[in-house]
């Protein structure tokens, strides 16, 4: 006999009904955690998946749904890929992802960024193994550490459900080892008793080993992200808090500052961020007025893929900030500067070389010399491997530089200011002046654009195949639209990071050299004519101009970056 109530009970208990109930009551953004149990093909369709930003966008949950919501449990990631959490430093945000991508390429590590926002320090990434995770993060300057992601959610209840469903099969591995629990909060605070209470809420993992505050075998960290930037976020918080009253009585519903994302993680590997302290300019033996700070010098070295056994060169070496950063990562470093006093120093014991001695990296000191990029001694005429006679110039794995902006003193290269001056040695009292020991060669003003052209040409000639060029460039913000990134047919632009200041910004451009020379593009406005090909007339016209006329950035710097009133 048909029993309606029993039939109804069967329906209520069926998987599909429970699932539909769950779908209604669960935020869309989290569904993947519970129901996405099949293989995730997204990792093999990289071009379709970019970066899923969840914390800075206003339409968060729906965006997630649109991209397939593949926040898969650890156990359900396709076999080689596992999920990790990177804890970034909340500085130089625009450089963080390019640095990570550069290191992944350097170490040849497969990865996919699952979630990243410049507003938060926590990013989710899929990698093949703990070894890959350790290697990837080992050289990073802008991140702090990498963790295995055990669970995540917008409330602690969600985190617990996530941890239980994803990692219960792993708990026995950590049953007897010594361990420690850590707590990280971004943009928020917890009292110590509250932290303890939250840590204890994870006791179901059943770790019986000793708790060690120093050098534990395993470190587990709870991370909370309190970032709240948009109205939608705030509304979402409010909505969540109503639920919390019912679901999590342990939390204080009247507390307005609750994290909007919580992660439970296991520590895997540490970054090189501590190295910044070692190379701190304040503790460096010899510095100058334009020395690049340790942090960005080290980041630049990472972008340039320097490493053990490689050769790096800085054509504007100054006091050697990039040189020591490259040497730190193992490269033998060369440098030159038009001003020999910068290299040798003016006081005894204070020289570029003394910094290499201070850091005990003299085995990576290549050579420093005085020269001008427009008349460089680098390059040679000689026998090649093939035995034929041709110029063999591909020497460096990396060329990195922060060219002089010409703000402090106008940009200069070798040569006389007066182009009509006859090309003969200057002889006074029968002595050729340039043969005197204290002879200072005359210099003339030079255009910044010309110099960029010289740098890219130089890099094309002297980088080994796949070698990298990193250039720092200043721009007045108003010029942003007309700012053109220097291009060269043999150089592929890898990344362009921007560091913003008040009225101006500077960019770190990274290029890699193609394996073989590329054909000259048919029409390319970016490429300036080679210096040697210019007619004497235009060269004269160039020389007649002042340092300001040749360097628009310098002019704008001294004009205080005034903006002209706009048309509308």
């Amino acid at each position: 006999m048909f029993n309606p109530s029993r039939a109804l009970l069967q329906i209520y208990q069926s998987q599909s009904f429970l699932r539909s109930i769950y779908e209604i009551s669960t935020p869309v953004s989290l569904k993947g955690n519970y129901f996405n149990t099949g293989p995730i093909p997204n990792y093999y369709r990289r071009k379709n998946i970019t970066i899923r930003t969840i914390s800075s966008s206003s339409s968060i949950p729906f965006k997630m749904a649109a991209t397939g919501a593949s926040l898969a449990p650890l156990s359900n990631l396709p076999p080689p890929m596992r999920e990790y959490l990177i804890h970034f430093a909340q500085v130089h945000e625009t450089f963080r992802k390019p640095e990570l991508e550069s290191l992944a390429k350097l170490f040849n590590i497969d990865y996919e960024i699952l979630q990243y926002s410049e507003k938060a320090p926590f990013a989710r990434i899929a990698l093949k193994s703990n070894e890959d995770a350790k290697t990837l993060i080992s050289r990073s300057i802008l991140s702090k550490a990498i963790y295995e992601l055990w669970g995540t959610g917008t409330t602690y209840d969600e985190v617990h459900t996530s941890v239980k469903s994803r990692t219960s099969h792993l708990w026995h591995l950590y049953k007897t080892c010594s361990f420690k629990f850590g707590f990280e909060s971004f943009n928020g605070m917890r009292t110590e008793p509250h932290k303890k209470q939250l840590i204890e809420s994870f006791s179901y993992v059943g770790f019986d080993g000793p708790i060690r505050m120093k050098n534990p075998d395993e470190l587990f960290v709870i991370m909370e992200d309190y970032e709240a930037t948009s109205m939608v976020d705030l509304e979402r918080f409010t909505a969540l808090k109503i639920d919390e009253k019912v679901e999590t009585p342990s939390r204080n519903p009247t507390h307005l500052d609750e994290p909007h994302q919580i992660y439970f993680t296991r520590f895997i590997g540490k970054s090189s961020r501590a190295v910044i302290e070692t190379y701190d300019l304040k503790k460096r033996n010899y510095i100058g007025t334009t020395s690049m700070d340790a942090e960005l010098s080290l980041v630049t070295a990472n972008m340039a893929h320097v490493g053990p056994g490689k050769l790096a060169y800085d054509p504007f070496v100054g006091t050697g900030s990039f040189a020591v950063a490259c040497a730190h990562f193992g490269a033998v470093t060369f440098g030159s500067d038009i001003d020999g006093r910068m290299i040798r120093g003016t006081r005894p014991g204070k020289s570029l070389r003394s910094n290499f001695e201070q850091y005990k990296i003299m085995d990576r000191y290549g050579d420093m010399f005085v020269s001008d990029l427009t008349n460089s001694p680098l390059g040679r005429f000689g026998a090649t491997e093939e035995g034929g006679k041709r110029r063999s110039e591909q020497i460096f794995d990396a060329i990195i530089c922060d060219p002089p902006y010409g703000v402090r003193e106008g940009l200069k290269v070798l040569g006389s200011r007066d182009p009509s001056r006859p090309k003969v040695p200057t002889i006074i009292d029968g002595v050729a002046q340039h043969t005197l020991k204290d002879f200072v060669p005359p210099k003339r003003p030079y255009s910044f654009d010309k110099m960029l052209n010289d740098i890219t040409n130089f890099a094309s000639a002297h980088l080994v195949p796949n070698g990298r060029l990193c250039i720092w460039l200043p721009t007045a913000d108003e010029d942003f639209n007309e700012f053109s990134i220097p291009a060269h047919r043999n150089l592929r632009l890898e990344s362009a990071c921007v560091q913003n200041f008040n009225k101006w910004s500077r960019r770190l451009l990274t290029y890699s050299r193609y394996e073989v020379d590329q054909d000259e593009p048919v029409a390319d406005d970016e490429v300036l004519p080679d210096a040697a090909e210019e007619s004497l007339d235009s060269a004269k016209a160039r020389l007649a101009r002042t340092a300001d006329a040749l360097n628009p950035f310098r002019r704008k710097y001294f004009e205080g970056f005034k903006t002209l009133p706009s048309e509308d």
Binding site: P308, G330, G340, F369, P377, R380, F381, Q394, I395
Partner: protein, 145 residues
């Protein structure tokens, strides 16, 4: 100025770049120093293909070192990825006894020997570049620019 660097540079005067006489520059009135630095076989293995061997033999002779007439053949070494966090080397490969001897010789000539004071002379135009406190000066007077 190291012999390594001398192998990468020629006369800075543009007109000399097309002359085989401008490379290598010839050492004159040199004062040498030897600095002991850790031996780095990976570096040497990477350097070898980039060296112009006949030029290195010539420069070495000027400083009193004798090198074999032909470039030694060495197995190519590679760094392991995992151990590069602090820039220290860690190698997969090991080299044989003869190769090791060659590498040690190259290490001494290329990395440990420096010209502290002296001159480098272009065989084409005769211009003399000074070396002072190991730093070579390649700036040119305006009549040569």
């Amino acid at each position: 100025m190291k012999l390594l660097t001398a192998n990468f540079i020629s006369c800075a005067v543009k007109a000399c770049k097309s002359s085989s006489l401008s490379f290598p520059l010839h050492f004159k009135d040199v004062e040498l120093a030897s600095t002991s630095v850790p031996y780095n076989p990976l570096l040497l293995s990477n350097l070898l293909p980039r060296l112009d061997w006949p030029a290195l033999v010539t420069s070495s002779k000027e400083l009193g070192f004798t090198l074999p007439d032909t470039k030694p053949e060495l197995p190519r070494l590679t760094a392991t990825a995992a151990a590069t966090g602090d820039g220290d080397m860690n190698m997969d490969n090991t080299v044989g006894e003869d190769d090791e001897k060659t590498l040690k010789m190259l290490h001494k000539v290329l990395m440990e020997t420096e010209v502290v004071e002296g001159k480098m002379v272009c065989g084409s135009c005769g211009f003399e570049y000074g070396i002072h406190q190991t730093v070579g000066n390649f700036l040119l007077p305006s009549h040569l620019v």
